[in-house]
Each structure stands twice: as structure tokens, then as C-alpha cells.
């Protein structure tokens, strides 16, 4: 099951474009990378940084000591505030895949950009004693 929301006119999101929209009662960042669309909640789980302003690039992947291995070109979004890196496809943080940003399916249908949200997707178990929405403190299912 998934919910559908019309996000914006497709002409406003050409290849290379990005946008911030309201959908499903929250802010969503949408990116058009050479015709492929990616959409994530527009709030980093750390301090709520606006992911729509994040840099999209590759990343130095986990490697052996002193090895700098570049990969995932155009699939890594870096939060503009504190530099947390997220995989655009999964929303998972590169430093710990248990930390993730909610992702949405984004498609162009006719002249509209449409978002889909899976109704059973992500349950963030946030405890009152959590200091930072980080690794051990937040569990995602």
C-alpha cells in the first residue's frame, strides 16, 4: 500500500534541478539527476538540516587504512549543516546504516512530479533519553 501526492509541475524540475515541496504533511526534498528522481524528507535526523541544500556527489567509501576509494558518484547527499552523508537511494547514513532519512518514490507522470509514500515503511523508535538521533539511540525497522 502506498499514498500518492502531487508534488509540483514537472517543468519546474528539469534534469539537474532540485526542489523543496510540502507533501504528506512534511517537507520533502526532490532531486532530478539526469532524469532520475530522488525524494527524501527535508530534515536531517541529526539537527534537522535542510537536505534540499545538500551537495550531491560520490563519496570516499569505507576502505582500508590510507586507501581513498571514490564511489557512488551522484548517489550521495551531504547535509549542508554538519556533513552527514546519506545514500540517495536508501536514505541510509554512510557512517551507520541504521540511521536513515525517510525516502519517497518520485515519478514524473504527465506534466506532474508525483510522490509515493509506503504506508508501512519506517518506524523510528525515539526514546525520551535520546541525546542525538544517532546509531545506538535510534532504531529503524
Amino acid at each position: 500500500m502506498s499514498e500518492r501526492a502531487v508534488a509540483m509541475e514537472a517543468s519546474l524540475l528539469p534534469p539537474g534541478g532540485r526542489a523543496k515541496v510540502e507533501a504528506f504533511g512534511t517537507e520533502v526534498a526532490i532531486f532530478n539527476l539526469d532524469g532520475e528522481l530522488f525524494a527524501l524528507a527535508n530534515a536531517c535526523p541529526h539537527h534537522g538540516g535542510p537536505l534540499c541544500h545538500g551537495r550531491i556527489s560520490g563519496a570516499r567509501l569505507p576502505s582500508d587504512p590510507y586507501e581513498h576509494r571514490w564511489g557512488r558518484e551522484n548517489r550521495v547527499l551531504t547535509c549542508p549543516w554538519h556533513g552527514w552523508e546519506f545514500d540517495l537511494e536508501t536514505g541510509r547514513a554512510l557512517f551507520d546504516e541504521r540511521v536513515r532519512v525517510r525516502t519517497f518514490e518520485a515519478r514524473i507522470e504527465g506534466d506532474q512530479v508525483v510522490l509515493y509514500r509506503k504506508t508501512v515503511n519506517l518506524a523510528i523508535v525515539s526514546e525520551p533519553d535520546v541525546c542525538v538521533h544517532d546509531s545506538a539511540a535510534v532504531r529503524t525497522e
Binding site: 539537527h47 535542510p50 545538500g54 551537495r55 549542508p80 549543516w81 554538519h82 544517532d134 545506538a136 539511540a137
Partner: protein
Amino acid sequence: MIDCDVHQNFNSLRDLEPWLDPAFRDYIEVGGYGGFTLPNYPWVHPSGFMMGDAVPEDGGVPGSDYDTMRAQLLDRFDVEYAILTGEDILNISCMAHPQFASALATAYNRWLIEDWLPRDDRLKGSIVVATQDAEQAAREIGERAAHPDVVQVLLPCGARTGYGDPHYLPIFEAAVEMGLPVAMHVGAEGLATNPPPTATGYPAYYLEWHTLLPSSAMSHLVSVVCHGVFERLPELRLVIIEAGVVWLPGVLWRLDANWKALRSETPWVKRLPSEQVREHVRFTTQPLEQPARKSQLQAVLESVDGMGEMLLFATDYPHWDFDTPKIVEGRLPEAWREGVMRGNARELYRLPDREPARARV
């Protein structure tokens, strides 16, 4: 909320030229390789030292545009007062040329007072001095400190010796004379004429350097206590900016214990060091440490008597590691929140209680 660490900046030193002694303008225009630039870091943050969304529309340096700062910080977070702390101007104190460094301090302070502070009632300024010539620094404090929107004297934590060294005493005396606290902000460690940033020399990575930043603040705090600066100047107030806070209990426990045994080495230190620190020193919260659980953080903070009165909230806008107010407030013990977020700063800087302030223009 009162934000005790906000980095406004110029786009380049050339912006200071109208306020710079003509005897030094050629240094800025043609000196060195086509114009002098301040000493900068050998460590590189791979995604940049600044918030990625803080570049002004004109493409200038983050912090250089008032309207951007107003939208992203002052209005957005309903800031009561923002204490401006400049940017790499603090690195003047590690330059080799003492008179050029002092001239830059003067130019910066005049630019701050004439160009930035009049823009908005919420802005309060920190004047800088070049520490190479402490007597000249004291004169600079005397010249500038009476301005009603100047609230402190700012030094870098990167320094040739601990700030308890008698070389620096004229700076502290002048600040007390003018009724201003002296702040020290992390930065300039290991640059230009400064000693290496750690006792094991230069780390390889920015990650190491940034993690170890509190070490310079620890050195100054211990130095100032052991040299008896607070005994000499009972009215002196110090602010330690951006050095983190959870190291404080450990350092104070060691200092108190050592002092009890070694008091005779520094017989002028007549009161328990931790009591002196509690009375004389304030710490800004950013970057507030992030253990997994709030209760762990609170247990550490509460282990220092009076810590709730010693902390001042700060965002560090527009730096990459800045703290947002709600998240920090939520991590603090409830009884401390009002004081840390505004009351302690209002008292230290003698800021009038006010309705949410607005721009002057």
C-alpha cells in the same frame, strides 16, 4: 535565546581598507603574492568549514551578508542578542609582524563598530587585539571598549604560551578597567608563529585537530589559574568559546587535587581552583558533546557545582558544526534552560531584558 558565538565576516581583508592605517594598505593590496592573506589552516574539511546553505545570494563568504544572517539566524531562531565573534581575523595574533597585526586589529574593530553593529539592535560586538604587543593591545581596548555595543575582548586559543603568562597581563588589566570580559575562542592553534596544536605535534587530519580543540582551552584555563590572574584581578571574567564543556570536570578535579598537594609552588593561588573557575569563567555550549543518551551528558554537566550558571548558549553560525537552539535546550537539565539559553549571557554582558528585538533598518 542569546547566541554567544556568531561569525560575521568580511569577504577579504580589502574590505577593511577604509579603516586601515594607510601605512599598511600596500600590504593588503600588493604585499606578498598579490596581497596579504591571513594565516590559514593546513587541515581541510572535505565538505567545507561552513554550512552549505549559508552562502549569500551575492556569492560572498558565509557570514559576510547581514540579510542572509538575519533570515537564517536572527529572525529564524528569534535571537534576542547575537554576540559577533568575527572569523579568521583572530589569526592576526599568530602573524610575525606585530605592528601590521595591531593595525589589522584596529581596522577590524572600527569596521565592526561602524559597519556591522549599527545594523541591528540585536548585534553586539567582540573587539580583537593583536597579542604580540600587549601594551598596544591594552591601548586598543581603551580606545574601543567604551562603545555601548562592544561587549567583550576576544583572543584566539592558539597562542605562544598560556594566557596566565605575565606578557598578557596588560590585556586583562585593560579589559577589567573598561568593564569587559575577555573571551578566548578556539582557533589559530598550530598556525604561523604559534606552537604545534598538540603535545604530539601536528595531527594529520582535520578530524583529529577538531576533536582535540579543547586542549588549547584547557591549557589557558589552568595557566590563568596557576599564574594567579584571578587573584590579581578579582573583577576579571573569562569566556571560553567553542571548546566543548564535558572536559571541565576532569580538569577541575585534577587541578583541585594537585593544588592541595602543590599549593606551595604557587602560594598566590589562595582559593580552590574550581571555586575560582566557577566565579570567573563562562563556557559557550557549542559544540555541545553528543553522547548517546541525554542522561549521560547531564550527569557529566551536573558533576560541576554551579555549571548551570557557567554555560552560555551558542550556535556558531555559520560554521559546519553549529548547534540549533531547541536541540541543545532539550539536552540540558530543565532547571538550567532559562539561564543557559539567555539569563547567564544577559547577566555577564549586562544586556537589558527586552522584547524580541528587530532590525534598525
